[in-house]
């Protein structure tokens, strides 16, 4: 029967109070009298009324809640009821848990097609009209994944409640496999690539992102074997050849670079560094696996990987970001024989949340883009749920704002993993699927979600972007899978190889693993699906989450199956690895795919990429001569890019697993920092320092220096936190735009060249990387005019450094009055594209970008960092911070705010050129660290740093001022700590 259980809160409900406040902020201040929230479960299953009653009791805590079954009479009067539920097929974690609970309680399994669906009702009392109720509903739901039902009191009474809605998936799809004729004219062929295969009803299935050159190669291959491809084959090839999977822009020859950017620069840099390091090389697995791995200690390796999940996050910020974080966790679980995730990192590049510009995806202005505030809240919540529920500490993260992230936000997520070097007598960082091994899919089931994710993210986003590209992660399904794999099955040696089901789903993971054995055979009808009626091509490429593909030797199958079953993890044999040299897929008795592995993986034609030089000249602001810069420092601290975001850090669990050392918020003043330290092994004193660098603003001047600065920033952050210069590894994440335009490609080439030069000079190897090349939004503005918004060329560099003793890690907070303040490194006139110039541009409504962006002197900086590590190991630095965005004044203010201590410095002997006050305070010159030293260690510290540019500039005080004198001895900053902290905390107050 169908029944509806509503759970009513019988004590004050904090959620309802918070929601009421949020609704009031939509323009209904004083209009809303009360909000009540009810959790609802709609049961659609063959269970009896008495059983439903029993089930309802298992869904309440009687001290807090009461269960109402099909009950509406008892409802107190309200004005509007808004019910939000999921659309059919969207992951409903709450509904799934309720189902599992009730099955366990009643000791019976639901049949296929039966289910429990969760929803939330908001009963709102207040003087609101229907339009107001709709506005509230709009703030609560996302039409791409959710449904809404709004009823007035009168309607509710008349209809006897909200009514039963069962979002069961009904697919009357055509389950046959069709041939796709490629011997058609060029125009039609191009359409297949751009919009997808034509369905019977004439509609297109969604982009394959195959251009004519690729389609010709596919046509030639099938002509050669004497037939047309099936839809499954074409979809599969499109997935495998997508930019997302093959990274053709980095792989193909570019101008004079015959081997492409990746081989010639990124990979090459690592090769050169490893060779140079010789016996001190600490890399173990680079670029070949789902994550990169470095040595941690004699018995363990650390892995690291960062990913982006941008396009889905623009459509459904929560779903996009939760899927992103649990997805990159699988790059850890899928490293080698399976590493345990020990820390997450995040970074969100967004538009100002207060920006009110309205954008549409379509010309008819029907598909409105979510507001930047909704996107911010959604992506923050996604990593909250994904990280917290998975029991992985979120060690470090950042926010970066620029109006050009309005169309596509960038959502960076990364995971550090820990793995023993050897497991069950095998090297755990190597794996091989052998002929005869079962192909086993474990974890979640396959649904319609995430169709065309890989090809979708390889295209600019427009109104044709498929809603099915959105998935919602289910962290608990994955947690069960992760625990069963990395805490049990791995060390029992039950499988031979493992990989993640990410972009492209089974089509990519199986075909990728099949390279290890030399071929594969799949029975698609064996794949467990969420609901009946899925077309074969969808099953094959679906990106439904929380799944891994394993290669299980036949002799281990029973033991493996038993273990998975007892851990609540579904595991299914879907085929066998072989040496046939082919990827063959059968559905029942029909062969629906039969393609040679060589063609599948290497058949895509190489393209000659041409770039076109582009140079910029920007206007310089007139130099300001101020007597007092205190107010300017305060204004800087109010800027989104320098502001506190502890509302994020404090809602992300950063202490689970017990390895927290340097937390994301530091000191008495709770200041956000760029550097974190963790201790991933409970019984070892060794640790890892994590940091990052990102300077998209510099791209407007020169992407070469942008990239060099990102690398220097990432390394410098780690070093300031106590990392060893000789043991730092890097990740590169390129998020570019319009990568079909030669000018953008030129910018890319410059950036990649800088990656090589800088990484080699610092001797810091890249161990893993990822790119996302089309972060452009093509849509319509308020007037319906076409608009394109491209992100600025963005490169995130993440650094990871192993430290011998976590108790030597350094925090930023000033510790003791009287401590000496040192500045290491040279300050230069490098205010171009600085946060300071952004401030004056905004104030004067001009676009003063300037031209002199920071340049990295890697050799000099490396020396500073190396010597600073020496000083840190001798416990000589009591606090340290890397000087980054906002320059020296902001770094100094952060140290003072964190320690809630005063500081007095004089710039009279600041190392560097002879500069103006604004340069000294706000230039973002690289290679600089502020450190404090106890007076008794003055000589030792100075001796340790003697071969470097550095200066003793002042001291920590027990006063309440941040005080700076300029080169001529004049007081130019005199800022009260309280004012600084107020400014620093002025944003995100109501988040």
């Amino acid at each position: 029967m169908q029944a509806r259980i509503e759970i009513k809160y019988i004590i004050p409900d904090a959620r309802a109070k918070v929601k009421q406040k949020q609704f009031e902020k939509l323009g209904f201040l004083g209009k809303i009298k009360a909000v009540e929230i009810r959790d609802c479960y709609t049961i659609d299953a063959g269970i009896k009324a008495a059983e439903i009653k029993k089930a309802a009791q298992s869904l309440v805590n009687p001290l807090l809640e009461q269960a109402l079954i099909d009950n509406f009479e008892a409802q107190k009067k309200f004005d509007w009821a808004v019910e939000i539920g999921f659309l059919p097929g969207v992951t409903d974690n709450v509904g799934n848990t309720a189902k599992e609970t009730i099955e366990d309680l009643l000791k019976k399994k639901f049949k296929d097609g039966e289910g429990i669906y969760s929803s939330l009702i908001f009963f709102i009392s207040g003087s609101l009209n229907r339009e107001d109720a709709q506005k509230i509903a709009d703030s609560l739901y996302n039409p791409l994944i959710q449904r809404v039902s709004i009823k007035s009191w009168a309607e509710y009474k008349k209809d006897k409640g909200m009514g039963i809605a069962v979002p069961r998936v009904k697919l009357d799809a055509n389950l046959t496999v069709s041939e796709v004729n490629l011997d058609i004219d060029e125009e039609d062929l191009a359409l297949i690539g751009k919009q997808g295969i034509k369905s019977e009803d004439g509609s297109r299935r969604g982009p394959l992102a195959l251009d004519l050159e690729y389609l010709h190669a596919i046509r030639k291959y099938f002509n050669k074997i004497g037939r047309q491809p099936t839809d499954v084959e074409l979809e599969s090839i499109a997935q495998t050849w997508s930019e997302h999977c093959k990274h053709t822009i980095f792989a193909d020859p570019m101008d004079e670079i015959k081997d492409g950017l990746y081989k010639s620069y990124i990979k090459k840099a690592t090769e050169v560094v490893r060779k140079k390091k010789g016996k001190k090389d600490f890399c173990v697995s680079v670029f070949t696996d789902n994550s990169g791995a470095i040595e941690f200690d004699d018995e363990h390796l650390l892995t690291h990987k960062a990913e982006t999940h941008n396009s889905p996050s623009a459509l459904d910020p929560f779903g996009g970001s939760v899927t992103g974080i649990v997805g990159v966790n699988r790059d850890t679980i899928g490293f080698g024989m399976g590493a345990k995730p020990v820390a997450n990192i995040y970074g969100f590049c967004l538009a100002n949340p207060d920006e009110s510009r309205v954008l549409y995806r379509d010309a008819a202005k029907k598909q409105k883009m979510l507001s930047p505030k909704r996107i911010l809240e959604g992506v923050v919540q996604g990593v909250n749920v994904g990280g917290n529920c998975s029991g992985i500490p979120t060690a470090q993260g950042f926010l970066f704002f620029d109006e050009r992230y309005r169309g596509k936000p960038l959502v960076f997520v990364g995971t550090v993993g820990l793995i023993p070097r050897r497991s069950k007598g095998r090297k755990s960082y190597e794996k091989k699927a052998s002929s005869g091994d079962y192909i086993v899919m474990v974890g979640g089931r396959v649904g319609q979600d995430g169709i065309h994710g890989a090809t979708f993210s390889s295209e600019a986003m427009d109104s044709g972007s498929p809603a099915t590209a959105v998935q919602i992660g289910d962290p608990i399904t994955q947690k069960k899978l992760s625990d069963a794999i990395v805490k049990e099955a791995r060390d029992r040696g039950l499988y031979a190889s493992i990989t993640d089901n990410g972009a492209g789903g089974l089509s990519c993971s199986v075909a990728e693993m099949a390279k290890e054995s030399g071929g594969c055979f799949i029975e698609l009808d064996k794949v467990p699906i969420k609901y009946p009626g899925l077309e074969p091509w969808k099953i094959w490429i679906s990106e439904s989450q929380e799944r891994m593909t394993l290669s299980v030797p036949k002799k281990n199958w029973l033991a493996f199956q038993k273990l998975m079953k007892s851990r609540g993890v579904e595991a299914t044999i879907i085929g066998e690895f072989n040496t046939s040299g082919k990827c063959v897929v059968r559905n029942g008795k029909q062969t629906i795919m039969d393609v040679e592995m060589d063609f599948l993986h290497d058949g895509l034609p190489k393209k000659e990429i041409k770039t076109k030089k582009i140079e910029f000249a920007h206007s310089e602001p007139p130099r300001k001569n101020k007597k007092d810069w205190s107010q300017t420092v305060e204004k800087m601290l109010r800027r989104l890019n320098l502001s506190s975001y502890d509302f994020i850090s404090s809602q992300y669990d950063h202490e689970v697993q017990g390895g927290s050392v340097i937390k994301p918020i530091q000191g008495r003043g709770r200041v956000n920092v760029d550097t974190a330290a963790i201790k991933p092994l409970l019984n070892s004193k060794k640790g890892a320092v994590l940091s990052y660098g990102i300077n998209p603003n510099y791209s407007d001047i020169d992407t070469y220096h942008m990239a060099a600065c990102a690398i220097d920033s990432a390394i410098r952050g780690a070093v300031a936190g106590g990392a060893d210069m000789e043991r730092i590894a890097l990740l590169d994440n390129f998020c570019w735009c319009s990568s079909n335009e030669p000018e953008r490609l030129y910018q890319l080439k410059r950036a990649v060249e800088a990656c090589y030069d800088t990484a080699v000079a610092f001797e810091t190897p890249f161990i893993s990387g990822k790119d996302s090349m089309f972060n452009d939004f093509k849509g319509y503005d308020e007037r319906g005019e076409p608009i394109k918004i491209s992100v600025p060329p963005t490169l995130l560099i993440s650094a990871i450094g192993v430290i011998p003793d976590v108790m030597k890690a350094v925090s930023i907070d000033l510790k003791y009055p009287g401590d000496l303040v040192y500045i290491l490194g040279k300050t230069k006139d490098e205010l171009g594209a600085s946060e300071y110039y952004a401030l004056i541009s905004e104030e004067e409504k001009k676009n003063y970008l300037g031209n002199k962006i920071p340049r990295v002197d890697a050799a000099a900086n490396r020396k500073i960092y190396k010597d600073f590590f020496g000083a840190v190991q001798k416990d000589l630095a009591t606090a340290a911070i890397s000087i980054g965005r906002g320059g020296l004044a902001i770094a100094l203010a952060k140290m003072a705010m964190a320690g809630k201590l005063g500081v007095e410095i004089s710039l009279s002997c600041l190392p560097g050129e002879k500069n103006y006050d604004d340069v000294d305070l706000f230039s973002e010159s690289q290679g600089r660290i502020i450190a404090t030293v106890a007076p008794k260690n003055k000589e030792r510290f100075e001796k340790a740093m003697k071969k470097n540019p550095f200066a003793l500039v002042g001291k920590v005080t027990d006063g309440e001022k941040i005080s700076v004198k300029n080169k001529s001895g004049k007081h130019i900053v005199n800022l009260a700590l309280n004012s600084a902290l107020r400014a620093y905390r002025s944003n995100f107050k109501n988040y």
Binding site: A14, V94, E655, V656, D875
Partner: protein, 256 residues
């Protein structure tokens, strides 16, 4: 008994089992992580242990309400064994999600509901020990972290009066060293009368929202870099342990 045995439950999204096991071992116990399905398959196994721990985590993702689904699973399969266990002179602890589970089970009175902010919060708190329990002996105050979305303790008046009378309020949030250091309010979630944990079964069953295992090392303290400098300048040795380890040590001592 010199080294009592602790069983730390796992499975379905519990996630603090490894550090909780480590804390018990560090305190001198022998500890095993046991998946709930393995315990259900071999119920009598519980009888080999003196201490049972429901660790923190996100069992079933907090879906249907924190701790509820895991509690249902325990109730459906392990009720008798659990009753037998608490009926003997043994110890039980529920930490964070574990506390939510054992209140849902009815092993401890009261309930945990949404934080006043209706949001997950990770921060440090100070707690003042109040109840009488083997777990809490000799402890006056503790600096300790919380990390939860549903940690606001609730009980009706009658229950509350009983708790007070029986000295069964384990600890209350109070302003102490860490709140002063970070300038934070004492009560992080709006808990009734600042209650951070409660006791049952003559103090042998402890439920608390704060995580003692996340305060077992000195380096876990938010202000350890400052304290390191302080101790150095005062010529004192730097401690290795954090304050939370005492709770585990007390459990071991109880069986000594």
């Amino acid at each position: 008994m010199k080294n009592p045995k602790a069983l730390v439950l796992s499975g379905y999204g519990l996630n603090c089992e490894e550090e909780t096991k480590f804390a018990f071992e560090k305190a001198g116990a022998r500890a095993d992580i046991v998946h709930i399905n393995d315990l259900i398959a071999d119920k009598k196994r519980l009888r080999n242990y003196q201490i049972l721990s429901f660790p923190g985590g996100f069992s079933y993702g907090d879906d249907t309400g924190s701790g509820k689904a895991y509690a249902n699973k325990v109730r459906n399969h392990l009720r008798e064994e659990l009753e037998r266990f608490v009926g003997e002179n043994k110890l039980v602890v529920g930490i964070c999600n574990g506390f939510q589970i054992i209140t849902n089970l009815g092993l401890l009175p009261g309930a945990l509901t949404f934080n006043d902010s209706a949001r997950y919060l990770d921060r440090w708190v100070d707690i003042k020990i109040e109840g009488e329990s083997p777990w809490l002996e000799g402890i006056d105050t503790l600096m300790i972290p919380i990390a939860h979305g549903e940690g606001k303790y609730y009980a009706d008046e009658k229950t509350l009066a009983e708790l007070k009378k029986g000295k069964r309020i384990a600890a209350r949030y109070a302003k102490g060293e860490i709140c002063r250091y970070q300038d934070l309010a004492a009560n992080p979630n709006g808990s009734l009368e600042d209650i951070a944990g409660v006791l049952g079964y003559e103090g042998r069953v402890l439920g608390m929202m704060p995580h003692p295992e996340r305060a077992m090392f000195f380096h876990q303290l938010p202000h350890w870099p400052y304290l390191k400098e302080k101790y150095k300048r005062e010529g004192k040795p730097m401690p290795k342990d954090g304050p939370g380890i005492k709770i585990f040590q007390n459990a071991v001592k109880y069986f000594a």
